[in-house]
Amino acid sequence: MGLVAILLLLAVVLAVVIVIQRSMGSKEEAATASGADIVAYLVLAIAMGVAGFALANLASTAFPGETFIFDPAEEVATSLSALVVSVPFLVYFWRRQVRRRVTYPGSAGWTLYLSLAELVFLTAFVISTVSFLDSLIAGDVTSAWTGVIVFGAIVAFHEFAVKDTPPLSDAGELRRVLGSAIGLITTTVGLIGVLTGLFGLGLEAIGGDPRDLGFEPWLAMLVVGAPIWWYRWLRPWDSQPGLPKLTWTVAVATVSLAVSLGAATSIVVMVSQYLVADTPPAGQHFDSLHVALSLFLAGIGVWFVHRRELRTAPTDAYLVYAYAIAAIGLVTAISMAIALTITTFSETLIVGRSGTDVVTFAVVLVAGAATWLVLERRATNKEVADTRVSWPRRLYTLGLGAVLGLIAAGALITTIFVLLRRVLADSQSGSLLEPSTVLVYTGLASFYLLRFYAVERAAAPPADVVAPFHVTIICSHPGMIASRFPSQAKLRVLHHDDAAGAITEEMAAAIVEAVGNRPSYVWVDGDGFRIAPMRMSTNSL
């Protein structure tokens, strides 16, 4: 009976595949628009997702281990139904898109599909494997291994498909970046957990309170995440970094430095409080020291690896990172200066001293101000050689200056309101300390930033008037050349298979100069680049 049912299901699947193939086969070669391609890849992604998770569910029902399955028959029925519907679409669209990739190798749909598959199936694989290893280390054997096999096979299947036909579009590296993100997050969380456990053991040994260490899940995350991160991030990349990789590098470098500086500041705060203010006994006061140490070490390690990448990246990527950290430092310093000033001059303290608060505010203020000064000056020095003020600096001076200016304006309104109310209604009403403190610090910072913006804008050479023009670039990888052309350029990129045809940073600058804001074709290969003028009627612009 079971065999008949399976044969019946296979017959249904086959019939659906044939029906889809016949209905779409005649139109297949005519559909060349990338929009149609993206829709096809989205259907493929949905079919792959439904089939993958149905298969995983079926496998875990078949091999439940020690897990309790509430209603196996219902689980099997649900999984088989999903497979019957999804597999025909999966088989048809996979085969269709394999053929189309030969004709259209630069399809954005393929990149989008691979990114979705990476996000969903690599995450599922990581969760299954961590759960499996966690149970294994703890001595339990559960059904989690079925997820490892199924999702691992799907990830491996896509890996081979990528080796066969790698994505060639501008965002082709998006899949690797997503995989790196999954690996890095898993590795870092696991590393922080393991380090926290180890430092907790150390604190316990020297007289701290006993802690529930629970190493297993963190160790499992570290063991699973690290190889994935290595494979996706640390192996050599095929070409110059594009926008996805640069964005991720800048984001991780910024966040990891902020976390490690925050953790280091927290440690200094603890020690300073212990030395200066009245605190509980050391065992209690330093109770969170092991967590801060772990965050610092993990953060500084992640920062080191990603900061190294920025050395070879375009200058703008480094400047985004430097000004982001400078902005975080400045905002932190302003917040702490406001808190410290209010604490110092407040007339509301009636009992005790606010020693621990004062120490905290002062230490964090120093850390924030030092970070701001160092990073802002490094970024400024990096820009000195350039002839124009970079867009990250304009965003930093104008954007942050405007936000701080708005806060100062709000504080000014509150200050005037309190003053007027005192004059018109009650001379004792309201407090001026808080709004005036906010006004002074945010106003000064806003003035500092906006003054730089105004001076730099006035000193900038007048912008050339450029008419809109078209540029078609034929290469294997465009890199970041789009960001180097003026906004009037309408860029079109066509890909070819010659791996030597990638555009480097230096080449991008040379191409932009050679094009000289004229409509052009640009061919890039192993011999460098060649430019031909583009003849076009004036109304085509």
């Binding site: 603890m270 200066a337 009403s429």
Partner: protein, 172 residues
């Protein structure tokens, strides 16, 4: 970047910031709590809390109105004694004591929900800051309201004031 004349000497800003910081920290660490007029409701509350902070239990109980204190004494308060704490006028979300004083002035006005409170009674809101572990979250806050009644030229604490020990006194 084309600007070359846009910076003051590099040391000026860090030095100025450092001087401001040292001044603020010095003032903050050497400055004690404010001295409130003992004839005001806030003054009574300060007296009560200072006595608890200094472990002068009988002095603390002495500012509680006889009608509420009953048989309670310093020993009853001591058994509920909190650890190290500091106290500020106002709730932790408010702007401070002066805001609260104005709020108390409104109590009893026509249409007010609190109109049942007599003119010789008032409330004082206080934020109690308790010491905790190290790191950034080194204190936790507790918003406390003291009720006071004016009787015989003195604002007495009435009700069961923080740390809420009167309910447990023998004979109540």
């Amino acid at each position: 970047m084309t600007t070359t004349e846009r910076r003051a000497p590099g040391w000026l800003l860090p030095v100025a910031l450092g001087l401001v910081l040292v001044a603020l920290v010095t003032i903050a660490l050497t400055r004690g709590p404010v001295d409130l007029d003992p004839d005001t409701p806030e003054g009574t509350v300060q007296e009560y809390l200072l006595a608890i902070s200094d472990e002068r239990w009988d002095d603390a109980v002495a500012v509680i109105h006889d009608d509420w204190r009953g048989t309670c004494d310093g020993f009853d308060l001591q058994s509920f004694a909190p650890g190290d704490f500091s106290a500020e006028l106002g709730s932790s979300g408010g702007f401070g004591g002066s805001e609260l004083r104005e709020e108390f002035g409104a109590i009893g006005e026509p249409g007010s929900a609190e109109a049942t409170i007599p003119e010789n009674a008032t409330r004082v809101e206080v934020t109690i800051n308790h010491q905790n572990d190290g790191g950034f979250s080194n204190t936790w806050h507790e918003n406390v309201t003291f009720e006071l009644s004016f009787d015989g030229d003195f604002w007495w604490i009435v009700g069961d004031p923080w740390p809420y020990f009167i309910f447990s006194c023998p004979g109540r």
